[in-house]
């Protein structure tokens, strides 16, 4: 399928639109440039034509740039967005990035460093939107580990998947240790390999790291691939029950390890059963969690506060945190003596590993 390389520029200043039109015409990818002076017109155009990039001003009459961007983020998640504003207030920069914009430039900077700005735009236009590990897209984690080992390098690979962090120690092309979610050695390595996406970075080598993995990396990769295949193929009648049981045990272990009291998983209304762990199924609590997310989202849109992170509440007996992930709400209950500060990170970690 042919990729569209169209740019939509939104600004209420017609002179500025003309300037942008002229500047973007010099981009090497020769995109087609469309300009509009109102947010409503921009949204209408985005509905009807394919665009790769939206360049948006913030200060505009009727519908401001942040309102446009919050709608764009919901309706066109794959569209790249750039804010080009004259507002130097740091608050607006933060709010724009919170809405997921790819780039924020001040109009004054853009005129002073026009070449750099154009290079950034060109880079955004050409960036692929496929999955995989950021940095080496379309490569799996297995490929990355093999590349490191084949090149006989010594490094520490730090792999991040949401709040989950893992590390692989490679010394002279040999995998010597792995660590993930409290596990170490081969068990941690197999767990990491199950991750389908994430980000990774190379840290300096740690030659003094204690060796816990003695098997050659290729043997480990082969075993891991076989295990993944077997899991995918296993459809024996008894095994489904066993898998469900193992999953329940594992979830309880996670809950205990993190120190949470209970988790209630709430699907969207009318789409499946409420799942609970550590407490009795509670329809009123689940309903409250669902309503809390709906209320907060509605309020966030009304006051332009950016995407919802979470809702928390507490009384003398308990602390509670509601997270919204992929249409599901997770209500996590914590004892009152757990410090409130890291509660969000701990809940996020619990929910991520829970759902994986």
């Amino acid at each position: 399928m042919e990729k569209s390389h169209n740019i939509l520029v939104l600004d209420d200043d017609v002179d500025w639109l003309n300037l942008c039109n002229e500047m973007f015409a010099h981009l090497p990818s020769k995109p087609e440039i469309r300009t509009v002076a109102s947010g409503a017109r921009a949204l209408a155009l985005l509905e009807t034509e394919p665009f790769r990039l939206l360049v948006c001003d913030l200060k505009m009459p009727r519908m401001d740039g942040l309102q446009v961007l919050s709608i764009v983020r919901r309706r066109f998640p794959e569209l790249r967005t750039v804010v080009l504003s004259g507002l130097e207030d740091e608050e607006f920069r933060s709010r724009a990035y919170a809405l997921g914009v790819d780039l924020f430039w001040l109009k004054t900077d853009m005129q002073a460093n026009s070449q750099m700005f154009l290079e950034c735009i060109e880079s955004l236009m050409g960036r692929d939107m496929e999955g995989g590990f950021r940095g080496i897209q379309s490569k799996s984690l297995m490929d990355i580990i093999q590349m490191e080992c084949l090149s006989r390098s010594s490094t520490v690979l730090r792999i991040t998947r949401g709040p989950l962090v893992a590390k692989l120690w490679i010394q002279n092309g040999e995998l010597i240790d792995a660590e993930s979610e409290g596990a170490r050695g081969e068990a941690a390595f197999y767990r990491i390999l199950a991750w389908k996406s994430g980000t990774f970075e190379n840290l300096p080598a740690e030659p003094d790291r204690e060796r816990t993995i003695t098997k050659p990396v290729n043997a480990l990769l082969l075993e891991s691939a076989q295990a993944i295949d077997e899991t995918a193929d296993s459809v024996e009648p008894g095994s489904i029950e066993q898998t469900a049981h193992r999953k329940t045990i594992w979830k309880l272990a996670q809950l205990t390890r993190e120190g949470a009291e209970f988790v209630i998983v709430v699907p969207p209304e009318g789409q499946g059963e409420i799942e609970t762990m550590g407490t009795q199924p509670s329809e009123p609590l689940a309903k409250w969690a669902r309503r809390a997310v709906e209320t907060a989202k509605r309020l966030g849109e009304r006051i332009e506060a950016g995407p919802l992170s979470h809702v928390a509440g507490h009384n003398l007996e308990r602390q509670m945190l509601v997270l919204n992930q992929e249409n599901k709400c997770f209500l996590v209950g914590w004892p009152p003596n757990v410090a409130a500060g890291p509660l969000f990170e701990k809940s996020k970690k619990l929910v991520s590993s829970w759902d994986s």
Binding site: K59, G65, L99, G300, R302, G306, L308, N315
Partner: protein
């Protein structure tokens, strides 16, 4: 000043985030606030009413809450229950100057 603003209102603007505190009674009426007077009153009322509805629904679920906080990427709202009403603290969040104030009981 309010009189002059009617005639010299700027045409294009970006909505500021509210910063300060708001006290609402049990009916959702704003009793007092320290948020800038430029911030729309109806939005303050909306915030108050939505927060009260969270407290009310939590009570209905047999889980009365003393404090509720809503965390958006750009704004943190913390509300304490006050005899059916609430006092609400609004903290805008900036990437380079995070406000970490967190009132606790």
């Amino acid at each position: 000043m309010g009189f002059l603003k009617r005639f010299f209102r700027s045409r294009a603007a970006v909505q500021q985030l509210p910063a300060g505190s708001v006290a609402v009674d049990r009916n959702g009426h704003v009793v007092t606030y320290t948020v800038s007077s430029a911030y729309p009153k109806e939005l303050l009322r909306d915030i108050g009413q939505e927060v009260l509805s969270l407290f009310r629904e939590a009570r209905a679920a047999q889980m009365p809450l003393a404090e509720v906080s809503i965390h958006f990427t750009s704004l943190h709202i913390t509300a304490r229950e006050l005899r059916g009403g609430a006092i609400i603290f609004l903290f805008p969040q900036a990437a380079f100057s995070p406000i970490t104030t967190k009132p606790r009981l």
